[in-house]
């Protein structure tokens, strides 16, 4: 496996870090304790102040 960066936690922050690194051409290992990504944000109904959905 190529050398890469490890991101621990797959909430919005972890996903953002992973995407930035991957988009810059690096291998990323994204480790999430739960069964899927999204963290707390996925449980939020609407976000202030835009009132967008998180889905």
């Amino acid at each position: 496996m190529p050398k890469g960066a490890l991101v621990v936690g797959g909430g919005v922050a972890g996903v953002q870090s992973a995407l930035d690194l991957a988009n810059a051409g690096f291998k990323v290992f994204l480790v999430e304790r739960g069964p899927c990504l999204g963290g707390r944000t996925s449980q939020i109904h609407k976000i202030f102040t835009s009132m967008d959905c998180t889905g």
């Binding site: 919005v12 930035d20 304790r33």
Partner: protein, 1403 residues
């Protein structure tokens, strides 16, 4: 591209970091991939498995407010979109069963009425359900967790129910083709061994000495407990697997061990039982009328005329004794009783049997032991007994009975049945073979494998253990079958044989708080008076209704019950119940920690009644409840009808800023969250009366103040103060007790209350910190090197921390930090960029007539349950140019995609239609499949026959099928008109220009230099460093601003950065990757090219000129001037200072927003002054301190005696030549407050820089209503603009404190680095194109294009035409709609293509 599909990202979900070794950039990381019990390479996420799962557990995604199945995915859009099973271990019932029978599993199936499946499951572990349902000692019930609630489940009765209820299904043609195995003894052990061997394909023969199989089950258990028919059902079923039983064949008499081997039996199992009955060895045992129990039962079971005494004593306390005494009653004994030497508590017989015996008139003499039997004429006439008492526990764990001297008495009897046990006697075998025996005369066997001292010969059951239970014998048979299988295959007999210590932990068992007490269902019994007169079965068994009711009492202790129903319905065979955890080793250069937060459980704040009162919720629960996909589909589950408008209260700071909970920080998001929730509630309940109890409303972010104001306009009421308690009244209303602003106790009634509970470090944060070797801070979050200057660096090099892992923050700030951490992590990966692979693939020639292939997806049952997929396929074949059509269970699966590729080649397809789900889900992966075989990916279309058809027309399958046909017809019509499109590439200049050399610009520049990019910073002023340069110190390090700036400048120039001071930006041309930047210095213009531009132009401070005595009094200064005064020394004579907050912020001075920095800055300064003996008052409109450590600083200031006085309205500064007093209208009391001062500090807000309008025009970057630059997305794109290649960070976007600005600076560096990491930028080919002959040059297209991609060019004098810059065009199509002459078309969505679709629909 999304994270789930990014080729560079490998997702380890359901995984944990368990070990980290080494230093940056060479970390070795060990990751544990926890079992999901579903093979994710195979799972298609079809959603079929939960439909058959009988187990319902709390749904953590819905915060336990609703239930989900044990096999689940968190939510329908989850990434990865895979199912998994949570297993907590072995349920107590299963764990305590010697044979490991899956009771929770069959009970779950019974609860669903799946009796056949329940019986099948039972028989996986136990071939004797009818027997065990009646006679088992059921250790499962003893350990059943339900006993902690009321009573254990009637597990054995349920087992009996399914075995009685269901027809005994035989396996279909058992094909036994493996070796022959001999089993000696047709008792439960031998038959079980044979059964499990036959199930594995071996050919077992059971040799039985008597003339009937069943052992003691047949010969010694009375029919009123175990009717012959029930036993025969189990025996017949065992035989149906191909088990051959030879009766009348006694080992040692009719044949020997050697004979068996000679007859080619490869292994032998000896299940010889314990046939030798014990007697007490007391005087008189030889008298007529003294019989041994099993001998008695042997006879009586088969002959109801068996003679019996008139007064019968049965000696013993086991099930046999109870069987014997009840048999004696039925045979006509006038009196039959039990003599037992211990007490009822120690009696080994099943409780229900003892109860029934007593009902039948049986007496039990406890603590009584025979000492002598006497008689007359050789016949029994009496028995002498002695009374016993209980001593210390003996080796069996039961208290040892001790005779009480002198307590002898006699009883008159004429029959004694000795039921004191049996013993194994296998000594007769040692004559032939040299078996090793124990001192009890049983076989000595390996405890794990049950192999005797002779290889290939195994033994189990009573002949090994001595007299034991049926279920233990079954367990032995099962284990022996496993050993024999391994022996014959030559596999390690010992591996993984020890019983796993996997009983589910008691604390993991979910017992609902509101569980109803419901006693165990009693089984109907024959009337004892009638029962005791015959041998009919006493227990009558459960009815369907009783069984369902009883099964519903199960607590599903283990979560998944392993009933295996999911396995049956999983088409791709993805479910693997035996899966074990895996470990993966990774080489990493750097680590980013983003472990987030948890919510404080407000049960700890017991005064608010959370969990005690139904309608007290947490803010996070409200979040789920108000969601349409939440547990109550967006409605409050009040549990009562509302007669008046809803009244709803929010209580802020539950836990946060609260020393009682040891939480010394602000949770930063709750105020905004509450404001949002109040607005959402207002949408659902427009008349609702909503009250927010708060300490400070901290609406400090961009647009937050306006959002707060919106809630005020909507009528949300805000009451300052913290409620003391909540009480629930008789009607279920919640009474909040609070102190009003005048200090009076008050109360208010609400239907529901939401507690804004604090955000706390996520569970496991400490453990992870230990694994990583980094520190946590005093609040338990990950520690950063320095909150303001190095917010993203942990205490260990190469490990970055961001988002809520370092403390609560909102999505915007988390996202910015996450990007910032990424650029820092990248610095440790130099030289490890992944090569960009480009394969040359021969392109399919598409110039000929269309040859369309149509591929229709079942999507598991998602489509095919409703739409007749085969009919759609047949229909597709009839459409013009369609040369091939077929269907797939899952078109998106790898296998199907391969097949599609093969079909493309085989049928020379040059157009492809997939009828499946939405293009949003899988369009890219299908396009990739086309690309891989050389077919242009734009010659493809998706017909959405799932989301837009089968899902929404579930009740009308015929019409849905018709619609699917139409959708396919339209897609085929469109795809025939599509042409190939090609990606365009632009070369990229890899230099970067940053506008502004404040702390943000410098930080961004340094980060980019470290990533290897060339950076120029353009600063219009002579001196760089922005506002920070002028700060006397920054919190919390108290380092001087100037020092920090000088260090950054040195770092920037030292790394090769160009700092162009006194330089003005003149103009910018071009587009992403190729911007031309024109600058001017000393009237000299120069120009250079860059690939990306960063706006770090900062903001300005509000100028309070003409207000607040500013022009009249020299001692009215701004906070920035105070900083300078502190630096230069000018406060020596000051005795008292008043800070006036929010000058030029929050609506003051036309600046709508909060300036975010000023409260914290004022407190920092106040502490400095107070520590020098100066009196300080901070006149505020709510204290907004939210950064890491700021709440501590605020507390310190109060402890030092800094006065915090809330005010409203315009302050008045009075004095003669100097300001001497400040008078403010107080917001707390109904009076003005006047404070004598000798220095007034105006905390001035941050306002957009004067030249921001000019810059906005130059860069085409829009500004928001507050005139700060507008980011691409307030949450998910905080540092990007709508202009590709132009980024922003720091205070030009909105006021920030230093830490947040620094994070944004790094975030921009990350975005720029990603953009410029490639040599070329590819442009998607779906862009607008102008048909010049139709274009009148009206310019409407250019007006509506928000990407500034269209301009008017003069093609000849006075004649204009629109021109699309493809580098800027996003293919949105707005211009097409705006063009009055039809002169603009959008590639891939050309008019003729859409028209063809419509024509196909309407004809």
């Amino acid at each position: 591209m999304d994270v789930g599909r990014h080729p560079n990202i490998e997702i380890f979900a359901n995984s944990e970091v368990v070990g980290v070794e080494g230093e940056a950039p060479d970390f070795k990381v060990k990751v544990r991939r926890k079992s999901t019990f579903v093979d994710w390479d195979k799972c298609t996420g079809c959603g079929e498995c939960p439909t058959v799962c009988p187990v319902h557990v709390n749904d953590e995604f819905q915060l336990d407010l609703s239930k989900r199945e044990a096999i689940y995915r968190r939510y329908p859009q989850a990434v990865p979109n895979k199912f998994l099973i949570d297993k907590k271990g072995s349920p107590p019932c299963r764990y305590s069963c010697p044979a490991g029978v899956n009771a929770q599993g069959y009970i779950a199936l019974i609860s669903q009425g799946k009796y056949k499946e329940a019986l099948e499951l039972e028989r996986r572990d136990n071939p004797f359900p009818a027997v065990c349902g009646r006679v088992c000692t059921h250790p499962c019930e003893s350990d059943c967790k339900r006993k902690d609630v009321d009573e254990p489940l009637a597990i054995a009765q349920l087992k009996r129910f399914i075995s009685d209820r269901e027809p005994q299904l035989s396996p279909a043609n058992p094909a036994l083709d493996k070796e022959k195995v001999a089993v000696v003894g047709a008792g439960p052990a031998g038959l079980s061994a044979a059964y499990f061997l036959a199930k594995r394909g071996y050919r077992p023969t059971v040799f039985e000495a008597t003339d009937h199989p069943g052992g003691l089950l047949y010969w010694a258990i009375p029919r009123f407990r175990l009717p012959e028919a029930a036993l025969m059902r189990d025996l017949d079923h065992i035989k149906s697997w191909g088990v051959e039983v030879r009766t009348g064949a006694a080992l040692g008499k009719d044949f020997g061990i050697k004979d068996l081997f000679k007859q080619d039996y490869k292994a032998i199992f000896l299940g010889l039982g314990a046939a030798k009955e014990k007697s007490m060895g007391i005087d008189g045992e030889d008298l007529q009328g003294v019989v041994l129990c099993v001998q008695f039962l042997n006879k009586a079971v088969h002959d109801p005329q068996t003679p019996v005494g008139k007064r019968v004593a049965v000696v013993g306390g086991g099930n046999s004794a109870v069987d014997a005494v009840r048999t004696a009653v039925r045979l006509g004994a006038e009196e039959a009783f039990i003599v037992y030497r211990r007490s009822r508590q120690e009696m080994p017989a099943n409780e229900e049997e003892i109860v029934e015996a007593e009902k039948e008139g049986v007496k039990i003499h406890y603590l009584t032991n025979p000492t002598k039997i006497f008689g007359k004429d050789g016949k029994v006439t009496g028995m002498e007994c002695i009374k016993m008492k209980l001593g210390e526990p003996d080796s069996s764990g039961r208290r040892k009975p001790i005779p009480i001297e002198g307590s002898e008495f006699t009883m008159n009897i004429d029959m004694v049945i000795m039921a004191i046990g049996q013993a194994a006697d296998v000594s007769f075998l040692t004559k032939e073979e040299n078996f090793e025996l124990t001192r009890w005369g049983t076989f000595a066997v390996d405890p794990d494998t049950l192999q005797t001292s002779i290889p290939g010969i195994f033994a189990g059951g009573d002949a090994v253990t001595g007299p034991a239970t049926v279920i233990e014998a079954i367990a032995a048979g099962k284990e022996a079958a496993e050993s024999i299988d391994r022996y014959i295959r030559g596999v390690d007999p010992k591996e993984n044989r020890k019983k796993k210590d996997d009983r589910v932990r008691d604390e993991d068992i979910e017992i609902p708080d509101d569980i109803q007490i419901q006693k165990r269902t009693a089984m109907p019994m024959l009337d004892p008076e009638k029962a005791k007169k015959n041998f009919e079965e006493v227990g009558q068994g459960f009815s369907d209704e009783q069984a369902r009711k009883e099964s519903n009492r199960c607590l599903s202790c283990a979560g998944c019950s392993e009933c295996l129903e999911c396995v049956k319905v999983c088409e791709p065979n993805a479910i693997v119940h035996e899966m074990v955890d895996e470990y993966v080793d990774l080489d990493v250069g750097s680590i980013i920690v983003t472990t987030g937060v948890d919510y404080l459980d407000p049960t700890e704040a017991s005064e608010y009644g959370y969990k005690r009162f139904k309608n007290v919720y947490t803010s996070f629960e409200i979040e789920r409840i108000m969601s349409e996909d939440g547990p109550t589909a967006g409605k409050l589950p009040l549990g009562k009808e509302l007669t008046e408008p809803l009244s709803f209260a929010f209580i802020q700071c539950v836990g946060s800023r609260n020393m009682r909970h040891d939480i010394n920080y602000c949770s930063r998001i709750c105020c905004m969250n509450t404001i949002k929730d109040s607005l959402v509630l207002k949408e659902h309940y427009p008349d609702a009366n909503i009250v927010v109890f708060y300490i400070d409303i901290r609406a400090f972010g961009k647009g937050f103040e306006e959002f707060y104001n919106r809630s005020l306009e909507k009528g949300v009421k805000y009451i300052k103060g913290k409620p003391s308690k909540i009480i629930e009244d008789d009607q279920g209303s919640l009474v909040i007790h609070y102190e009003d602003e005048d200090g009076h106790s008050n109360k208010m009634l609400f239907d529901a209350v939401c507690l804004s509970s604090a955000l706390i470090p996520s569970k496991g944060c400490k453990d992870l910190a230990e694994v990583l070797g980094v520190d946590t801070d005093e609040d338990g979050f990950f520690k950063n090197t320095e909150p303001a200057i190095m917010p993203l660096e942990s205490t260990k090099k190469g490990i970055l921390v961001c988002g809520c892992a370092t403390g609560p923050k909102d999505i915007t700030d988390s996202i910015a930090e996450a990007s910032g951490a990424a650029v820092k992590a990248a610095c440790f990966l130099e030289g490890h960029e992944l090569p960009i692979e480009k394969k040359e693939i021969e392109q399919v020639d598409v110039s000929g007539p269309p040859r369309v292939g149509v591929f229709v997806c079942h999507c598991g049952p998602n489509i095919s349950k409703v739409v007749d997929v085969k009919a759609v396929v047949e229909y597709a074949k009839t459409l013009p140019d369609v040369v091939f059509a077929e269907d797939y269970a899952f078109a998106c699966s790898e296998t199907a995609q391969h097949q599609i590729q093969e079909r493309i080649a085989e049928y020379k397809l040059n157009r492809v239609v997939v009828a499946a789900c939405t293009p949003k889900t899988h369009e890219i992966s299908f396009q990739d499949s086309l690309t891989a075989v050389g077919l242009n990916p734009y010659l493809f279309d998706i017909a959405n026959i799932r989301n837009q058809c089968s899902w929404v027309h579930q009740k009308e399958p015929e019409k849905a099928t018709e619609k699917a046909r139409e959708l396919v017809r339209m897609s085929v019509a469109r795809v025939r008109k599509l042409g190939p499109l090609f990606m365009k590439e632009l070369s990229v200049n890899r230099d970067v220009a940053i506008i502004g050399a404040g702390i943000t610009g410098l930080r961004c520049g340094i980060d980019l230099l470290q990533r290897g990019y060339k950076v120029k910073i353009i600063e219009k002023k002579e001196v760089s460093g922005g506002l920070v340069r002028h700060l006397s110190s920054i919190y919390p390090s108290f380092r001087a601003g100037k020092d920090i700036i000088e260090k950054l400048i040195k770092e920037f120039t030292g790394a090769g950065g160009e700092l162009l001071t006194s330089t003005e930006l003149v103009d910018v041309t071009g587009y992403v990757g190729n911007f031309g930047v024109k600058v001017k210095r000393d009237a000299k213009e120069s120009e250079f090219t860059v690939g990306a531009i960063v706006l770090a132009t900062g903001s300005e401070l509000y100028d309070p000129a003409g207000r607040l005595g500013r022009d009249r009094f020299p001692n009215v200064i701004t906070n920035m001037e105070l900083e300078e005064k502190i630096l230069s020394g000018g406060i020596e004579d000051v005795k008292s200072v008043a800070f006036l907050q929010c000058i030029g912020s929050r609506g003051d001075g036309n600046n709508p927003g909060c300036s975010r920095y000023c409260c914290q800055a004022a407190i920092k300064e106040a502490i400095y002054l107070k520590e020098r003996g100066i009196d300080v008052a901070i006149l505020n409109r709510g204290v907004r301190v939210y950064s890491k450590g700021a709440e501590r600083m605020y507390r310190k200031a109060r402890e030092l005696g800094v006065l915090f006085l809330p005010y409203e309205g315009e302050p008045e500064i009075s004095g003669t030549d100097k300001a001497q007093a400040v008078t403010v209208p107080s917001s707390d009391i109904d009076a003005d407050i006047t404070i004598p001062v000798d220095l007034v500090v105006l905390s001035v807000g941050m306002v957009p820089a004067a030249d921001s309008g000019h810059l906005s025009e130059v860069f085409k970057v829009p500004r928001g209503p507050d005139k700060f630059f507008l980011e691409r997305h307030s949450k998910f794109g905080p540092v990007e603009t709508t202009v590709e290649g132009v980024f922003l960070c720091g205070c030009c976007q909105f006021p920030q404190d230093i830490g947040d600005s620094i994070s944004q600076a790094s975030a921009v560096a990350s975005k720029v680095a990603a953009l410029l990491s490639r040599d070329k930028i590819t442009l998607a080919p779906i862009t607008s194109t102008v048909i010049e002959e139709y274009c009148r040059g009206c310019g409407r297209c250019a007006e509506v294009c928000e990407f500034h991609a269209i301009e008017l060019v003069e093609k000849e004098k006075g004649v204009f035409t629109a021109k699309v810059n493809e580098a800027l065009c996003k293919g949105c199509g707005t211009c097409v709609a705006a063009c009055p002459t039809g002169a603009i078309d959008l590639r891939h969505f050309r008019s003729e293509q859409i028209e063809a679709q419509l024509e196909a629909l309407f004809g």
